[in-house]
Subunit: 360 residues, 2 copies
């Protein structure tokens, strides 16, 4: 498949310079068609009957398999969720942390991770890494680890700057449980969960699935309490709620997922061409260098696929102005920055439109 053929699958790209996959990825025509087809199928089947339900179980299994393949895992270690926030809540609540415990994170995390950390009751220690040289991140984060640290919890790719955090090295160096927020990594850069304990995945961002869908990788399901059980948690249950958990990570699944969303995500997961990571990295660098000619660009090259920059005016106003010109980006609250998300589908014309809009 050529680049132009692959890009042409995403209708929104014909109208917009769509640079917002860090929020919601573009939906491909085959993904939209798979969802519409599944809607028709469900209506035809009356959403009932054993075959219909067995078909959903098989669909869930296929999606888990494809997600596992993406991150170097086995399907047994993957649960379907609605979001990375869900995954973070499941893990942090499941670890049963509380006062007296400490969690180490960075100063550039999304509320979807920070909120669960805060409500755990543990003390949250914040390493200063954002807008510092990425090469210092390992040392800065490790320096916050102490005898009370029970969890390291951080993004693989920072949502504000696109910096790639040294998650594997942190695991090796500390040996502590590591929760990785993968919202801005899976689908954007190569990911292998390796020795990591918990890894959250967003379906609707770089993997171009429908919203809201996601997944959670759990290295050892037995090590984590089921804090937010749903029907998927159990294989049998007593009248007082005592239950036999299912034997894999799907016990942590956060609820029923609409069949159309499973069908759409399954299709979306098959679409990226082989060369997609290389292309995404290249167009991200192109975006950085073009923007650097007209304003300050945040962070460093060769990180994730997010490019934050400091427009001359208010970033929210800049984003609104660009939207009127058909360029979709977002502001990063509290930073003075706007952020462009570069996918493998992004082309040079998109970047030209971005630069023209920022300059205007």
């Amino acid at each position: 498949m050529t680049y132009d053929e692959a890009r042409a699958l995403y209708p929104v790209l014909a109208r917009f310079a769509y640079l917002n996959a860090g929020t919601l990825g573009p939906l491909a025509q085959p993904t939209l068609a798979a969802m519409a087809e599944r809607d028709r199928f469900d209506q035809d089947q009356g959403r009932g009957g054993r075959a219909w339900f067995d078909g959903i179980l098989a669909l869930r299994a296929r999606v888990r398999g494809k997600v596992a393949e993406l991150i170097g895992a086995t399907p047994e270690n993957v649960a379907i969720t609605s979001s990375t926030t869900d995954g973070c809540n499941v893990v942090v609540a499941g670890l049963g942390l509380g006062p007296g415990d400490e969690i180490v994170t960075t100063n550039s995390e999304h509320p979807g991770l920070l909120l669960p950390l805060h409500v755990s009751g543990a003390r949250v220690r914040v390493a200063d890494v954002a807008n510092r040289p990425t090469a210092e991140a390992l040392e800065r984060i490790a320096a916050c680890v102490g005898p009370k640290t029970r969890l390291l919890a951080l993004s693989h790719v920072l949502w504000t700057t696109g910096q790639v955090m040294p998650v594997d090295e942190l695991k090796r160096e500390t040996g502590l449980p590591l929760l990785v927020d993968g919202a801005q990594s899976v689908g954007a850069i190569p990911v292998d969960v390796g020795e990591l304990d918990f890894y959250t995945i967003s379906g609707q961002k770089w993997l171009c699935g429908p919203e809201p869908i996601g997944a959670l990788y759990v290295r050892d399901p037995e090590s984590l309490r089921i804090a937010f059980p749903t029907y998927w948690a159990q294989t049998s249950i007593e009248p007082d709620g005592t239950f036999v958990p299912r034997d894999d990570a799907e016990r942590f699944a956060t609820g029923w997922t609409a069949t159309r969303m499973l069908a759409g995500w399954e299709t979306a997961l098959d679409l990226p061409p082989e060369w997609h990571f290389e292309r995404a990295a290249a167009i991200t660098e192109h975006c950085r260098s073009e923007l650097a000619a007209i304003c300050e660009v945040i962070g460093e090259p060769s990180q994730g696929t997010l490019v934050s920059f400091a427009p001359s005016g208010d970033p929210a106003e800049t984003a609104a102005r660009l939207y009127e010109r058909g360029v979709v980006i977002r502001a990063v609250p509290g930073t003075g920055w706007a952020r462009a998300s570069c996918g493998w589908w992004t082309n040079e014309d998109d970047i030209d439109r971005l630069v023209a809009g920022v300059s205007a």
Copy 2:
């Protein structure tokens, strides 16, 4: 609107004797159209820009308003969730119960409630009410209350027998926090939250919305810890996760809800004709008496809109056989019963087809 006009809005009813709203309600053509229209709108708008996002906030607010109206509440006390299970988890975890505490429930609850109760660590005391005279339920449940009871948690309508539990009387008599699982009540029978503390609502069953969607009523948001926070929980947040909660129950919302599902549910909530409760009650009684002529019917008349019965063979096989005849019902695991769900849209022909299938 006449009965036939109202029924004709639901395409699945033209093909199936669809008696499974206790699992998933029928979807109306206007609901399906609203979702397809919203999909087109989102694709046209590129799922970005301030106006798009503000529109979603307004849509969420309208849905919360309509749900509140259904249950005699104000919108400020309603959060959007994905399911009743979500709501039960949010409430039980938020109460921070543990060993030494007791929860009282019934012996006929769904895993979506029982699982959260169990993982709380509290002792779960189970009142024997299923298949006993409903008039005894109040006394039987109240008899399980003791000095360590911190929560009563039970269904308004039991999913196995359709019995209506005396939730208001329990609140009045015990004064204890009461969590009501409204999966089989809201949309099926008149509901007013009155003095109840927590009430979960399913959008995809009797309210005929898309799956998975729901809501949670919280009488006093300040009384409940936010145990599973999502982006909706906060109005501002610090780098260590400390946050200012929003001032209403939407702080308990369990995550992003697909715009198409909000649009679909909004439409679905407007569809039931004024006379729908009366009609649902009447057709339920008709179903009971027709089935009673050929097999044992469980429970009592004048309860909810679920009719469980004991077919001569295995209930799962009965359900499968009926599905082949275009009659959609389900088995109730572990009981020897099958269950027919009667909605206001159900007609006498549906019941004839059910009875013919069960007799065959």
